[in-house]
Each structure stands twice: as structure tokens, then as C-alpha cells.
């Protein structure tokens, strides 16, 4: 089998399996009230982790770069205007501008 088939097939299988585990294991069951408070806070924890690992790190190292400035600028736009599209466009534009002048 070619690398491409292994790559895409493998990624499809592990992704589908991982996405299925939680709903099957805990489906249709009422959770204790205290746990629902934990679940409601999972989104901020995971999203913040995704942001910092992408914007403040490269592979295994902490790294501040043009993309950090861009993401910060995009965040400012999202905070002030609530626009997601504005946020990502400004983030890319500022990152590109910082790279162009540095």
C-alpha cells in the first residue's frame, strides 16, 4: 500500500474511533450534577490550550514570532467586534506584514 493510502486511511480510522469512544461510553446516561459543571468548563480549557500551543510554540519549544503578533491582533478584533472572519483575516494580514518587514 502506498504511503498516501496508509496515511489517509490510518488518520480516518483513528479519528473516527476517538470521536466514537466518549459518546458510546457515556451515552444516554445522566451525569452527576457536579460533573456537568466540569464539562461546561472544558471548552475554555481546551480552546485556550489549542491557542497557546499554536501561537506560542513551535514543535517542542516555546516560540514567539510573527504569528504570535498576528494572533494577538486577531484576538483584539474578535474581542472588540465579535467578528470571527475579521479575526482570522487580521491575524493573517498582521503576521504577513511583520514577516515582510523583519
Amino acid at each position: 500500500m502506498s504511503t498516501t493510502v496508509l496515511l489517509i486511511g490510518g488518520c480516518a480510522l483513528v479519528t473516527a474511533a476517538i470521536k466514537a469512544v466518549g459518546p458510546v461510553a457515556l451515552g444516554g446516561r445522566e451525569l452527576p450534577e457536579r460533573l456537568t459543571g466540569v464539562i461546561a468548563l472544558m471548552a475554555p480549557a481546551l480552546l485556550a490550550a489549542l491557542v497557546v500551543t499554536a501561537a506560542l510554540a513551535d514543535a517542542d519549544d516555546w516560540a514567539v514570532g510573527a504569528d504570535t503578533a498576528g494572533v494577538a491582533a486577531g484576538g483584539l478584533v474578535a474581542w472588540r467586534t465579535g467578528s470571527i472572519i475579521g479575526c482570522v483575516v487580521v491575524a493573517a494580514a498582521v503576521t504577513a506584514a511583520v514577516r515582510a518587514i523583519s
Binding site: 461546561a40 490550550a49 484576538g75 503576521t95
Partner: protein, 227 residues
């Protein structure tokens, strides 16, 4: 379908989910264009890039897998990286589980609809999930994700240099915008800060993807009752 009395929060319609997902779909479209460009630089054909997006549909895992291939890694290493990056779907799926109905196969299938943006949109303050928002927003994001990948696969070579255009900032900016919509309470802000610290602390010592999954333990702050 039977709905218990404790389930009185009504789900939004599928169409409402599609509308709510619209802005995220457009942002995702830009993201998937940059994925297609990166995939072709890593040696994948245009068709392979589109098939990748159509059957995997997990942006961060796709970027991680293609980055490994581009660095000369094996398909096996790329699949492991994708699995680790996707490991956050374990706690996310567990959170969603009680809000889904049907048998095991049905719930496994419904779980496939989870992507970060739709999951966060559908997440209610009481810990339950709005299935209309989940399925509707995922549907529009899925269509956009494939369309963007196809556009990038066909016309991507017209883009000079994705890094020079700042396309690598799209992904974290997208999640930052999503994060800001979650900042409804001081507790949520605190948990976000804690999750960020945990993830950053683990970056130098854990393989990619693991820091994000472990950061979910910050949500255990929710065990403390609010006054």
C-alpha cells in the same frame, strides 16, 4: 424519541445550527486552503488532499499529519501524531455523550459530528449540548472544509508562499475567536488561563497534542461549587 423531564432545554433547529456555523465555516475555508497547499508541498496529490479532508475532517490532526510527512516521517508516525492531536476528542466526546440519544452505533455515528467549533457552539452552561447547533454548524463547516481544500488543491500553486501570507496564523486565531465567545464568567476565564499554562508547561516535554488533551483537567475547577 423520548425526552425526560430533566431535558426540558429544547435543541435549536438544524437550520439555526447552519447559520451559527456560517462565520466559522468561512474561517475554516481559509484554513483548509492552507491545508491543501501544505499537503501538496508534502507530496500529496490534489485528489489525495481532498479525500483527506472529506474522510478525516479534523483540521489540527490533518495539519499535524502532513507536517510529519513533510519532515520525512513515515505514515505510521503521522497517524500517531494525528491520534495524539485528536485525543482531546476523548474528553469532548465524553462531555457530549449524555446529551445524545440512541443505541451505541447511532451515538458513535453522532459523535463523528464533533469538531472544535461546533462542539463549543453547542455547549450549554448547564453542561448539556444543543444537538441542532452541533449538527447544523458541523454540516456547513464540513462543506466549506472540502470546498476550501479543493480550491487550495487546484489553485494553491498560484499562492506565492503560505508563510509569507501569514496563513499559519489562521488556525490559532480561529480558536482564539472561539475561546472569547466562551469567556462568560470569571471562572471560565480562570480555567482558560489554567489550561493555557498547563499546555505551555507540557510543550517541551510531551509529544504534540498531549499538552492540549491534558489541559482539559483545568476544567476540574468546576467541581468546586459556585456560591
Amino acid at each position: 424519541m423520548t425526552v425526560g423531564p430533566e431535558q426540558e432545554q429544547r435543541d435549536s433547529s438544524f437550520a439555526a445550527g447552519v447559520r451559527a456555523g456560517g462565520p466559522f465555516a468561512i474561517a475554516g475555508l481559509l484554513l483548509s486552503v492552507s491545508f491543501a497547499v501544505g499537503a501538496q508541498e508534502a507530496g500529496l496529490s490534489a485528489l489525495a488532499a481532498v479525500v483527506f479532508s472529506a474522510i478525516v475532517f479534523a483540521g489540527s490532526a490533518q495539519f499535524a499529519a502532513v507536517a510529519i510527512i513533510a519532515q520525512g516521517g513515515t505514515a505510521g508516525a503521522a497517524v500517531v501524531a494525528a491520534a495524539l492531536v485528536n485525543s482531546r476528542f476523548l474528553p469532548m466526546g465524553a462531555a457530549l455523550g449524555p446529551s445524545l440519544r440512541g443505541g451505541a452505533v447511532s451515538r458513535a455515528a453522532q459523535g463523528q459530528a464533533v469538531v472544535d467549533a461546533s462542539w463549543a457552539l453547542a455547549s450549554r452552561d448547564d453542561g448539556s449540548f444543543d444537538r441542532g447547533l452541533l449538527f447544523g454548524s458541523t454540516a456547513i463547516m464540513y462543506v466549506a472544509w472540502i470546498a476550501g481544500t479543493a480550491a487550495g488543491a487546484i489553485w494553491g500553486d498560484k499562492l506565492a508562499d503560505p508563510e509569507a501570507l501569514g496563513l499559519d496564523a489562521l488556525f490559532p486565531a480561529f480558536f482564539l475567536a472561539l475561546l472569547l465567545t466562551e469567556m462568560k464568567s470569571r471562572r471560565a476565564v480562570g480555567v482558560a488561563g489554567l489550561g493555557a499554562l498547563i499546555a505551555l508547561a507540557l510543550v517541551p516535554v510531551a509529544p504534540a497534542g498531549v499538552p492540549v488533551m491534558v489541559a482539559s483537567v483545568a476544567s476540574l475547577v468546576g467541581l468546586r461549587r459556585t456560591a
